[in-house]
């Protein structure tokens, strides 16, 4: 380790956000660059713990102390490699991960944690800048083929792992562009989409095939996949949003966050959208229901669309400013988080339940009727706290209940677990042999970093499955990969 006393000598410093006044006028990422000198100092704060809790706090088990030290010592090339050995896409997590590693950081017991996320991002950015991250096509091909359904972080991570292991990988995406949530869920100001493109270029060069507008189970028959591929990975996410069943929910102007955010991202891409379906906050009084990350994403987007006002309601009580005693270190702390979007404006309120929406004559939502409630699990309404608030746009960001049904799941007839996610073995294989699942589809709604972790583990499971299959019988000739496009009715 570089500097044993680093944590005593240096205070935590991380990249600052651009001034609010400036950043709400554009869609660029909100964080400023962090100078290398400072970064190395921050690396020196790492204590190189005998038991690095960060390393297990991190779902992909990033080798955090190792690359902290490498950064401190300026050994970037190795840092890039170490980082990629556990995480296919550190540029995503380095931007949008809530960094459970940092809440598990041992230094965090009594001092501000090491700025792990900043260091992660810096390593990977430097890697791209210096051309250290290049396509790494496999040295040999197994002849096995894998179809991956869904191009979010889980699908992509699995795709890269499997391709590098020598299998032919085709990724099917129902949307018009690859990236899933990364592309359409996460606003540009949190992660510019060139970041995703850059990685996709690498993957294509490595030999991964991407097929867009291919909705498996709808536009692409499941049977075709089963016939053509040795294995299928379901990585379609948990896209069924949690709904709010209150009177007035059907009114116009009440939308799910995941209907709202993709539109904004498309606009950033320069797409021209159908004005009829447009959801825009510009000039509106906006209420966001749901105080989580998606809510914050909506919030930042709303700011940039210049709403008149915006409120964010959360049914849970306001968390404490510091780590709650119920979640001691190294657990993920229950604690008030202030995201960039929160700095930019809007009013956050806690312990609020929505009881009804009312509208004007045109059926456009105009008011939200709410009430303050007590703590979970009962959320008992507090007497005399009813209120009404004007609203032209209501965004529902209350989370997701699981994978969308009525498609591939039914066609394949995979078994689901109690929570409605795809049930799998420890090797991530579903109840249907050769069909695997990963990411939110298996795990339920979660973090990008978990999706990557799942994708990697599923890839390992698939690789094992294919290797055993290889041992059992030699590869049978399959359709050439360049004819695969023919299977797809665009």
């Amino acid at each position: 380790m570089g500097k044993p006393s680093g944590f005593m000598d240096h205070a935590r410093e991380a990249a600052t956000r651009r001034p609010v006044a400036e950043r709400v006028n554009d869609w660029f990422e909100i964080y400023q660059d962090f100078p290398e000198e400072k970064l190395r100092t921050q690396g020196a704060r790492c204590m190189d713990c005998g038991v690095p809790f960060c390393h297990t706090g991190c779902p992909v088990n990033n080798l955090i102390p190792d690359w902290n030290d490498l950064v401190y010592n300026g050994r970037w090339k190795e840092a890039v490699r170490q980082l990629h050995s556990t995480n296919n896409f550190p540029e995503f997590t380095g931007r949008i991960c809530p960094a459970p590693c940092e809440s598990a950081c041992v230094l965090g017991i009594n001092e501000p944690a090491v700025t792990i996320k900043q260091i992660e991002k810096s390593i990977v950015e430097r890697g791209f800048a210096e051309g250290l991250i290049r396509p790494e096509p496999p040295k040999f091909r197994s002849g096995k083929k894998v179809a991956i359904v869904g191009s979010g972080p889980a699908g992509l991570a699995a795709a890269q792992q499997l391709n590098r292991a020598g299998h032919w990988v085709t990724v099917y995406e129902k949307a018009d562009r690859i990236g899933g949530l990364l592309r359409y869920g996460i606003p540009e100001f949190k992660m510019e989409k060139r970041i995703v493109d850059r990685r996709l270029e690498q993957m294509e060069a490595e030999g991964v095939k991407f097929v867009t507008n291919a909705h498996v189970g709808h536009s692409v028959p499941v049977e075709d996949l089963q016939r053509e591929f040795d294995s299928i990975l379901l990585a379609g996410g948990a896209e069924a949003p949690r709904d709010l069943s209150v009177p007035g929910r059907e009114l116009k102007g009440i939308h799910f966050a995941m209907d709202y955010l993709p539109q904004s991202n498309k606009r950033c891409h320069g797409d021209v959208l159908d004005p009829a379906a447009d959801i825009l906050a510009t000039g509106k009084r906006v209420i966001i229901i749901g105080g989580g990350d998606t809510g914050a994403d909506c919030l930042g987007t709303v700011h940039r669309q210049r709403a008149i006002s915006v409120h964010q309601f959360e049914i849970m009580p306001m968390p404490p400013a510091d780590r709650s005693p119920s979640t001691p270190w190294p657990l993920w702390p229950m604690q008030l988080r202030i995201e960039g979007a929160h700095e930019e404006g809007g009013i956050r309120e806690w312990s609020i339940a929505t009881s009804e929406f009312t509208s004007d004559a045109k059926g456009d939502v105009k008011q939200l009727h709410g009430i303050r409630v007590g703590p979970p699990p009962k959320f008992e309404p507090l007497p005399d706290t009813e209120f009404t608030m004007d609203a032209d746009l209501v965004l529902l960001a209350m989370g997701f209940t699981g994978p969308v049904r009525n498609g591939i799941i039914e066609r394949l007839d995979v078994k689901l677990d109690q929570r409605g996610n795809v049930a799998t073995t420890a090797d991530y294989m579903s109840s249907v042999p050769g069909v695997f699942a990963a990411g939110d589809m298996r795990r339920g709604q979660s973090l990008v970093v978990w999706a990557i972790a799942e994708g990697r583990k599923a890839a390992a499971g698939i690789n094992k499955y294919l290797t055993r299959m290889q041992e059992a019988r030699p590869a049978k000739p399959k359709a050439n990969s360049n004819v695969r496009r023919d299977l797809i009715s665009v």
């Binding site: 944590f7 204590m47 713990c49 038991v51 030290d69 990629h84 009594n110 792992q161 001691p328």
Partner: protein, 1498 residues
Amino acid sequence: MASIRGEKSHRIIEQGIQVLINLTHRGACGCDPETGDGAGLLIQIPHKFFARECQSLGFTLPEPGEYAVGMTFLPVEKHPRLNCEGVLERIIREEGLGTLGWRDTPVNGDAIGRVARASQPYIQQIFVARPAEMDEDAFERKLYVVRKRAELEIAESDIEDKEFFYIPSLSARTIVYKGLLLAPQIANFYGELSDPHAASALCLVHQRFSTNTFPSWKLAHPYRYVAHNGEINTLKGNVAWMHARQSILATELFGDDIKKLFPIIEAGGSDSANFDNAVELLFQAGRSLPHVMAMLIPEAWAGNPHVKPEKRAFYEYHASLMEPWDGPAAIAFTDGRVIGATLDRNGLRPGRYVVTDDDLVVMASEAGVLSVPPEKVKRKGRLQPGKMFLVDTVEGRIIADKEIKKRLSERQPYAEWLKENQITLDQLPEPVRVHASDHATILSRQRAFGYTDEDLKMVMEPMAAKGEEPVGSMGTDTPLACLSDKPQPLFNYFKQLFAQVTNPPIDPIREEMVMSLISYIGTERNILEETPENCHTLKLPHPILTNRDLEKLRRVSRGDLLAITLPALFNAKDGEAGLRSALDELSRRASLAVKSGYSLLILSDRGVDKNYAPIPSLLALAAVHNLLVREETRTQVALIIESGEPREVMHFALLIGYGASAINPYLAIETLEDLAARGYLPGGMTPDVAVKHFTKAINKGLLKTFSKMGISTLQSYRGAQVFEAIGLNKDLVDAYFAGTTSRIGGVGLSVLAREAQMKHEFAFRPVTDADTELAVGGGYHFRVNGEYHLLNPETISKLQRSVREQNFSSFQEYADLIDTQSRNLATLRSLMKFKKARKPVSIEQVEPAKEIVKRFTTGAMSFGSISKEAHETLAIAMNRIGGKSNTGEGGEDEERYKKDANGDWRRSAIKQVASARFGVTTNYLVNADELQIKMAQGAKPGEGGQLPGHKVDEVIARIRHSIPGVGLISPPPHHDIYSIEDLAQLIYDLKNANPQARISVKLVSEIGVGTVAAGVAKAHADVVLISGDSGGTGASPLSSIKHAGIPWELGLAETQQVLLMNDLRSRIRVQTDGKLQTGRDVVIAALLGAEEFGFATAPLVAMGCIMLRKCHLNTCSVGIATQDPELRKKFTGQTEHVINFFFFIAEQVRQYMAELGFRKVDDMVGRVDMLDVQPAVDHWKAQGVDLSAILYNPPLPGRVARHCVQAQDHGLEKALDHELIAGAKDALENRTPVEMRFSMRNVHRTVGAMLSGQIARRYGSEGLPDDTIRIHFEGSAGQSFGAFLAKGVTMTLEGDANDYVGKGLSGGRVVVYPPKTSRFAAEENILIGNVVLYGATSGEAFFSGVAGERFAVRNSGATAVVEGVGDHGCEYMTNGLVVVLGSCGRNFAAGMSGGIAYVFDDRMDFTEKRCNLASVDLEPVIEPRDVELVRGLVERHCKLTGSKRAKNILDNWAEMLPRFIKIFPHEFKRVLGVSRTGQPYIPGQPIPVPELVEALHG
């Protein structure tokens, strides 16, 4: 005892027996207090007596010298006895000799103990006539042949009770009387020794304290030529090499008879017996006895530039013949004509002698063993390290060491022989081509050899950067190699053995002069010859070869040095079969190479590629070594390893320990070159420097590893196999590592092949960015996908939550994670399970938790290694629950002795006494419930420690009685424990100082720990602690943390078994520790035999430790293992957390007890029958593990108690101190001054300590006013005279004293001077023994005479004047003042960091030859206050002792003053300069004396 003029008398025997009796306290008795470990004596044949006796038996003896007497032990039953006698007579006949007759030796069975009687042989003497044509020497040789033949034939016969048969002596010159006796029994048992006709001119006596072998009749000393006090650490290697060289032994003197002597080394002997066998061969083959001794136990010549060239040549020549038999050893030897003694290079055994005016010599381990009137004493002296003392009874004079060595050196032109025959690497031509490093392929090769990221980052880089082995902390908690899922290097299946109790480890840094890495390689020749060719060898300064060195060797062509390279690779895909056939092929080619005349075999694993994997280098070496040993050609070649595998100290140590002569670690070198080339080493280090540093680090590490075992030289470490294997199966060990202990079975060749395959597969699969370059390792620091750790994020956080929230169920979750290791096997106990009880009891019937927690202790963690807050939290918690906390080795603040206002007590119940004796004052000792002698520590057994100056703040310095800012060294050994009898002495000392405290001895598990524990029990310890290998540490070299010691399960089981079988278990309590973490751990420990349990890591975790493993860096971020005031503020641990932890453990223990049907813990102790092996462990390695050695339950009658039921008899009632205390009543009660007079003898030991304890109890460390109690003694004081003497007591002794005078002096005054009537010059004669003032903290001492070795070692505050000292004076001194008015031995001031010494350099050689200048400056004494100080002390000395030397100096002061030299430690100078005046110290500039004096006394 000897008459110098060779005058035979009965008196010599009488006095010999008297000497033996006066040394009774040095021997041991077992469970039966009447049975000793053995005693005996050797005398010249008492012709007159035998002539008379034989006459009465009906046969006539010829003249003396014309017949031999054989002392024989025979079976008791008549029939087998006659059988044995018949065989012996026949062999005598066959060898051309004749039997004159037999004589039943009358013995008195009532005179000996019950156990001894049970194994007593029938004892007869046989008389053998010398044929007229045979000269005396030839007769002795024949007798030797007869004895060896008879021993062998009877051993191989099917005669019943043949194990009784033994011939203590068969000679025309000497006879040995010995047996399983106590010293006082010998004269009664062998009645004829009291016969006035029994006469001899010499008498060699010995009493045994056996530690490594079971006591028996045969193993009593003396042997035929020697009696030995000590150990031969290098025994295994020595014996193996003796066997190996048998095939080329030849001498005209024996001719064909030589074969009849094989095996030279008898099986089943002790180290001393084996040594005697070797002596006998060399002596009978024509070397003189002194020559043999100098050859087997050479002086430390290699590292001493002052050894005369001729003597150096003598030793160097003999070094190429044979490796040293390394001590610690004091050997007394005789052939019936000369009698003498020698001390090994370390000089760790005492030997004192007196020469009287009627030409008698008495030499013994102690002075005063025979009272000689002072006026009759001509000279007093002592054995010195590496020196010999010899009496030639025929020449009738004492021959000085110098003369002996001179004579030996002149025997042959050794120097010329060496010059002509010995070769060094420099003399060899430069190679044409040297392997260069290859960055392109290095990664796959590193992978193939199993390099991990950690190897590079944590082991190799630090070595390259600093030239030192890296240090770590907090012990180890990863699986044993045989339970790990990861492929391991074969090296990891071995554990280093280390010295504890029976032999001291060495300090390889401060006592570097005795260490040597030199080796001689080439073909060994017949050691019975002395020819120039015998030294035709290649001399290597150290065993690490660079690529260039190796190429030189590969192409060597000088004399018969010729090298061949043999590949050590196997086809990876062929697995086990491939490995096996490759090993066979390698061995076959090696065998062929030897036959073809190659003398250097280079076993090389260069050439690893896609197909070929390396054979583990140790396995390749062992395979070749074993075959060559079997073919008896091993000594004709040197094995050189060219391997990519070795990269850390342990690897090199193993290769050398199993016989490699030199090692070229090419991949380690390449790795460093690669790192350097890539700029990854600090400061832009060049590859050359990196490799140089690495080599230096490995060499230092090797010396450290040798020294742990008490071995000084690489030559004697080579092939010594001082390792224990854990988890290798019998087939593998028998085939390749014969002689190495491997107790639990385990893996064989197939697993080793699979491990090599796994690494190979990883090496040659495509390297992508998706992998780390190397495997993460995770052996030191936890990593997912690395090694499993018991303490991992999950267990740590669960444990902390449970104790903080006082939540037993989350504690259970934590414990389940640890206990349910079915998926993560880590420990031996993870392979065990409990049997079902026949009758479980309800939990209410089990004794309450508050009783159980009293059996818990916390580990020895010093204040200094952990913070005050952490240390006191533990102490308060343990005091609240009635358990015991431990001070560790750093002393304890006296303010903690009193209870706090709220009733809490911050005092640690256990006070540790460790090698440095920091803060060990009388007051410290009396404020304890238990005094723990730390012999070893699990994380670094056999090693000392160092607290760097910057960590020694004001408080720590005050408590450790040292100076702030001055570094502190803990020596590897206790300098008052070089042997088991020394340990018994320290136990006695401590018991005297505090009779209420129980004494415990802390040992670390290794093979043989049970026997040591039995010795500890016999030494009267109340408790023995068996520590496991995994325990924590504040700082240890990584190789020690990982590779030394073994799990407690093995050590504890062995201890319990050995104690039971010797019926000693009832006398001693057994404690165990070493990563105990759950109730299950405790119950398993109890069932294996422990009644008390120690915890250290787990309570630290309970207090907030998160295993940062940075204790050694002082940067603990949670304020536990740090002294940094800012970090200490971060400590949040609470007493309650610790208490909760222990109660949770106790509660779990209760649950298990209920299930197992035990109500009391005592019922459970030793009930190993309730343990079983976890069935169906589905693990590719663990399957082969066999725990039956651990679960063995010796079948013993019910009356043999399985736990401690009786107290030890410490024999305190005989202490002279009772009289002192009675006499000092007024002083103790009212501080009234008193004065007393006593005469004393060497049996009066530890005089003054009990009295001092009484003073400390009443008056604390303040003591009494000066001179309140004045005691005058006359005579020879036993060991530890004035130990722990408290302030207010002055003890004056007219006479002399043994070892450890003023040990732990705590303010008292000790004055010793020779009897006024004696005639010798005091400053030339030995007055006091070794290790005087060890660990003294304050007080004064004046000695008018010479002291032995290590005077004032670890002195931290006493002032002393002495008139001469032996080697290592003022070693490790940290404070105090010493004036030496005469000559000093070598290595003065080694490791001295504080205090001042002034030496009167009478021989004018101090600066050049005597002083170790590593840490001190030498200055003239010119500052007025300096001068005043010295003069004042000399005046006081003169006044108190009447010293003539002092008077002479004072009388000629102006002339004498310039001959004084001031010895001023650098560090002390620095802190004085900085801390007192605020000015930095400028070298060469004097420090103002007032500040100096203040520093010393203020």
